[in-house]
Subunit: 231 residues, 2 copies
């Protein structure tokens, strides 16, 4: 499964700035990085008057604009997408994903905390200890780790190298992506190697029997089990 690290913290704690610094550092180390921003309030994208904006405003459910160097999409949703769905659909071809926000999802987290001058304890930590791989601290770092999270590494938010090292440890530790990526009802399903081989071989076998598909490279398949084949 693709490594996902969430940068979480209170609003205005500096999450966007930290991501802006981590992305180029991780890219410099050879990783292709994707990012996801969780926006609980809604957002505007695209410029009024642009053609793609006009498409979307006219009532399309999804608008895509595609060029030789970039592709962009805006879609309406009736329920917020799960992080796994977003990653499977839109971030399949990156080496790791950094998210801004998503403190409710059970992904690995770096929590950004601001320590006021003169404070002698860390503020309350939002992330469950099991998810937290580091505290990125703005302000004084020389404090005792919080009792709730005694083993968490405490790193200055300015020390981008140390934070990227911490992320890289988890990326390197995670199982490298195999041939199969599977999402079932919005949840990414990890596969044991034997099952992964079985799925890869049986689907590749079926597909290569189709006209013009003798040697498939990338197979992308979507099945809605509630529909039945139609003539």
């Amino acid at each position: 499964l693709l490594p996902i690290i969430s940068i979480v913290g209170r609003s205005d704690s500096g999450k966007t700035t930290l991501i802006e610094r981590l992305v180029p550092e991780l890219a410099r180390r050879g990783y292709r990085v994707g990012t996801v921003k969780h926006d609980v309030h809604g957002f505007d994208i695209d410029h009024p008057g642009k053609d793609s904006y006009r498409h979307f405003q006219s009532g399309s459910a999804v608008t895509v604009i595609s060029s030789p160097t970039k592709v962009a999409m805006v879609r309406k949703v009736s329920n917020e997408l799960r992080l796994d769905e977003i990653v499977h659909r839109y971030l399949a071809d990156v080496d790791l994903v950094l998210t801004e926000g998503y403190k409710q999802e059970n992904k690995l987290k770096i929590e950004l905390v601001r320590v006021e001058a003169g404070a002698d304890v860390f503020p309350e930590i939002l992330s469950p200890a099991a998810d937290l791989i580091g505290l990125a601290v703005i302000g004084k770092t020389a404090l005792t780790p919080p009792a709730s999270h005694p083993d968490v590494p405490v790193i200055s938010a300015d020390d981008v190298t140390a934070l990227a090292d911490r992320i890289q440890q988890d990326v390197l530790a995670s199982r490298s992506a195999g041939p199969v990526q599977l999402l079932v009802d919005g949840i990414a399903i990890p596969l044991k190697p034997i099952m992964e081989a079985m799925v890869a071989n049986s689907v590749t076998g079926l597909v290569s029997a189709l006209k013009g598909c003798a040697h498939p490279g990338k197979i992308e398949l979507r099945i809605d089990t509630r529909l039945t084949p139609k003539g």
Copy 2:
């Protein structure tokens, strides 16, 4: 396969305006419409200073912003995506797709032409006769159909009802979507019902053997046959 109708024509012929009018008319008829704009020159989206813009500018390969009502994505590409890839990945859940441009792809087309006052023949038609399902004419429509495309319906570009009727004919005539959507190396592969059932049953069988997946609804699977399963 999902019906795809391309609105083509010379630049500044009014393609965006026509799409802006067709989308609400088709939506009113109960269709969920997706749109794709082909931009050969590159485009800007997103606002400088916004968080998602900052993510992308910092060097991420893909940036997604997700809210309870909308999701947006910007990604870098090294080669322009094929229309089939775009539709499979981003427009899977719509009833029909309108594209602005994509005259080179072999999809059904409505070509927008401007007839100068006083002209007594149509200008040269860009679309192959086999793809063209209608000429949308700005200006005089009472002209003999061009010799190259003798049977093409000629409709005033202002007559959105007639154009939507023409599109609806093809949508209704196209095979309704079955349970399986398959993309192999960027090309959408149509499946005969027996093969569709075979793929649906075998993959659903494999997946429902996995822990927590006893009754899968939507299965999304991606296989890269060049990779081998890893431990």
